[in-house]
């Protein structure tokens, strides 16, 4: 009696072991075939970020923040200039629940150099993450309005403090229609809130 149960046990172990082994081999081979290098998610997220390289998310630029979010070490709602839309897009891409923004994005800003006070020390040129300030040592510098992302990194290193942040002027060509805001579309707003909270 002991012998059958022993041999039964033996058969069980043998068959299970054999099956598991060949499954393992197949998977190992598959691992080689479907090997993937870097994580493409980083580029997808980086493409969503506004690239202001401003560091307000606590990371030295957009690419590092994208890597952190892809590796899910950082939350999706740290990008302040991106605002709610970027946060919703990243949450959508990562398939996580959208989180409230911790800090409301201010109106878009532009740096402006008061040229008569500028001593030409090139400190702000080196501080600007997107090379939006031009000028040579000992010559006064100026900010290229089209290139400035408003990240305020140049204000602090300036020794004579001659850079101030101005609100970006709104052009008539860039004006966009707002949502219908009359009592008439109260229902529309209600539906918008519904969706916003549940992207």
């Amino acid at each position: 009696m002991m012998m059958e149960s022993m041999s039964g046990l033996l058969y069980a172990l043998a068959s299970l072991g054999a099956f598991a082994l060949c499954a393992g081999i197949v998977l190992a081979i598959a691992q080689k075939i479907f090997h993937i290098e870097g994580d493409p998610m980083i580029d997808n997220i980086d493409a969503l970020l506004p690239q202001t390289q401003c560091g307000q998310c606590g990371f030295p630029g957009c690419k590092p923040y994208a890597t952190a979010v892809a590796g899910s070490e950082a939350e999706v709602n740290h990008c302040v200039p991106g605002g709610e839309r970027t946060m919703l897009q990243i949450a959508n891409l990562m398939g996580v629940e959208p989180k409230e923004l911790d800090e409301e994005a201010s109106a878009p800003m532009l740096a402006f150099v008061r040229e008569d006070e500028c001593i030409g020390c090139t400190l702000c040129i080196k501080a600007c993450p997107v090379d939006a300030i031009i000028g040579a040592p000992k010559q006064y510098h100026t900010v290229i309005a089209d290139h400035c992302t408003g990240c305020t990194l140049c204000v602090e290193p300036c020794p004579v403090d001659c850079i101030d942040m101005l609100v970006k002027p709104e052009l008539i060509e860039h004006w966009a229609w707002p949502l219908p805001d009359t009592k008439r579309s109260q229902l529309g707003h209600e539906r918008r809130e519904q969706h916003a909270g549940h992207a």
Binding site: T52, V130, A176, R191
Partner: protein
């Protein structure tokens, strides 16, 4: 009649083509029988720097200059633009921001001209009498010089369309006399009173684009205009391949794409222009303005404007100088107090609602309406939930699905809105008109389009910033690598020799330190990972 059967019948020529959808609003053509009246020149004319589709012009005159009627006062910037001309002789009083007919309420830099009363014309452009043998490019330059833009309401610079392109030969010229917008009757009166001038303009257009066949499209609610044009056409020689086409009244028959499909059975492919399918469409008013520019040497300084509305005592069609404030025109027609009145710039279906009447008449002003409060409130009542009844997608002439599009725009699902072809919407308003729940569909589409355009602009800006930032990082790495290489080279040259040549290394050091400090402080405050 099932849509498939209808298109089949149309393809086999059994049935005239007619565009899909469309609505039948009551037309309120109150001023259809009033002849065109000339308006006295208002003391101050306000000319905004942009009255067309394209870039803003820059002023050529200074405050205090004296100008003649038709003198160029602002030059066009870039290709897609046309200059602005003084509409009367006088003195430039000031150049500053002034309100224009724009929903945002934002202003546009404008030139204020104080009329001196004798309206002396500027003779610099001499008339081209025998334009038949003039080189079309010369005529095209004249059209641009005279500031011609589509007067049907689109204000697209006319000279860009009037071109002979080997790859896209124009077969048919279509003259758009449809005017399907309620209340507006200026094209109608122009056709009745100046039919032969319009046909001269059409002949010039056909000469410029090198075709001999043309169609003049008129709606059947303007029988007298069709008759006047037919008589003028019969008396004209050399235009035998041109015919008048009277089409059933239906809004928006006058829209370029719908008119082209109705007359030729061909559709303008998405993202392409009518010229890509060999068709050129022009408004009757523009054709007459082209005739004045070529045969009389007169730049575009005035236009016919319908002033009407259920709250206006005396509707009329006025020949108005560009820059005349709307308030003076309303006063001329007996309307002074505006507090129960809504002013609309253009027709009720596609026009802008103005918040105050101190806005000048510009090239795109085809009509100004004074609508009573209850007329506007009836149109903008409380929005009910959409019951997916499908009336809006039936009415849409571009066969979109407006209610789904509105849902996407309202809930910011913009990629879906683009996938459903939001940008093919011509904002004609037929869907909002028929919606039983009074949903402001066109408003949601405009919001959607604005957000998508904003997102695209930010995307382009972000892409440029990213490239510059990566270029900068690469530059810093390169400089650091050079510094490290240079330091290691310096250490190698000094290290092995004994004390004897200690003095030799004196000259080498200065230049190293100079470039050192330049490179030293390029590192950012916090090190880039």
């Amino acid at each position: 009649m099932p849509a498939m059967l209808r298109t089949l019948a149309q393809k086999m020529g059994l049935m005239a083509h007619s565009f899909r959808g469309g609505i039948h609003p009551d037309m309120h053509k109150l001023s259809a029988m009033n002849p065109i009246e000339n308006v006295a020149i208002s003391p101050v004319l306000i000319l905004p720097m942009k009255q067309h589709i394209g870039s803003v012009c820059s002023p050529l005159v200074k405050v205090g200059d004296h100008v003649l009627r038709g003198q160029k006062i602002a030059k066009s910037e870039g290709y897609l633009s046309v200059p602005v001309h003084a509409s009367t002789s006088g003195r430039v009083v000031k150049i500053e921001e002034h309100a224009i007919a724009h929903p945002s309420g934002m202003g546009m830099p404008s030139i204020f001209i104080e009329a001196d009363g004798d309206d002396r014309a500027d003779e610099s452009l001499e008339p081209i009498i025998d334009w038949q043998n003039t080189d079309p490019t010369l005529l095209r330059e004249r059209a641009r010089m005279c500031g011609l833009a589509g007067l049907g309401g689109a204000v697209f610079p006319t000279f860009i369309k009037l071109v002979q392109d080997k790859r896209f030969p124009i077969e048919t010229v279509i003259l758009n006399g449809i005017e399907c917008e309620p209340y507006l009757t200026n094209d109608h009166r122009l056709m009745v009173e100046q039919a032969s001038e319009i046909l001269d303009g059409m002949a010039i257009i056909m000469h410029m684009v090198g075709t001999s066949s043309g169609i003049i499209a008129i709606e059947d609610n303007k029988a007298d205009a069709a008759q006047a044009m037919q008589e003028a056409l019969n008396s004209k020689d050399g235009m035998d391949d041109v015919r008048i086409e009277v089409l059933p009244t239906r809004y928006p028959q006058g829209s370029e794409k719908q008119l082209i499909y109705t007359l030729t059975g061909r559709e303008v492919p998405a993202g392409k222009l009518p010229m890509h399918i060999g068709v050129l469409c022009q408004n009757v008013g523009t054709s007459k303005a082209l005739r004045d520019a070529v045969m009389l040497g007169q730049p575009l300084t005035e236009r016919i404007v319908t002033i009407s509305g259920d709250a206006l005592p005396q509707p009329a069609n006025l020949r108005v100088r560009l820059g005349t404030p709307i308030r003076s025109l309303f006063a001329r027609q007996g309307l002074e107090d505006f507090n129960h009145i809504q002013i609309v710039h253009g027709g009720p279906m596609m026009g802008e609602r103005l918040s105050h009447p101190d806005i000048p008449v510009i090239k795109s002003t085809s009509g100004i309406l004074a609508l009573s409060k209850q007329a506007i409130d009836a149109a903008h009542t409380v929005e009910n939930p959409c019951i997916r009844c499908g009336h809006c997608s039936e009415a849409c002439p571009v066969s979109l699905v407006p209610n789904l599009l509105a849902d996407f725009c309202r809930s910011d699902q913009l990629e879906k809105a683009e996938d459903y072809q939001l940008f093919d919407c011509i904002e004609c308003g037929a869907c909002s008109y028929v919606c039983p729940s009074n949903i402001p569909l066109v408003h949601y589409f405009r919001y959607g389009k604005g957000q998508i355009a904003l997102a695209r602009r930010e995307q382009v800006f972000a892409e440029a910033s990213r490239q510059r930032s990566e270029g900068r990082d690469a530059r810093i790495e390169r400089e650091l690598a050079e510094k490290a290489a240079r330091r290691s080279r310096v250490r190698k040259t000094h290290a092995p020799k004994p004390v004897a040549d200690a003095s030799a290394n004196k000259p080498a050091t200065p230049d190293v330190t100079a470039s050192d400090n330049a490179v030293e402080n390029t590192a950012k405050p916090e090190e880039k990972s």
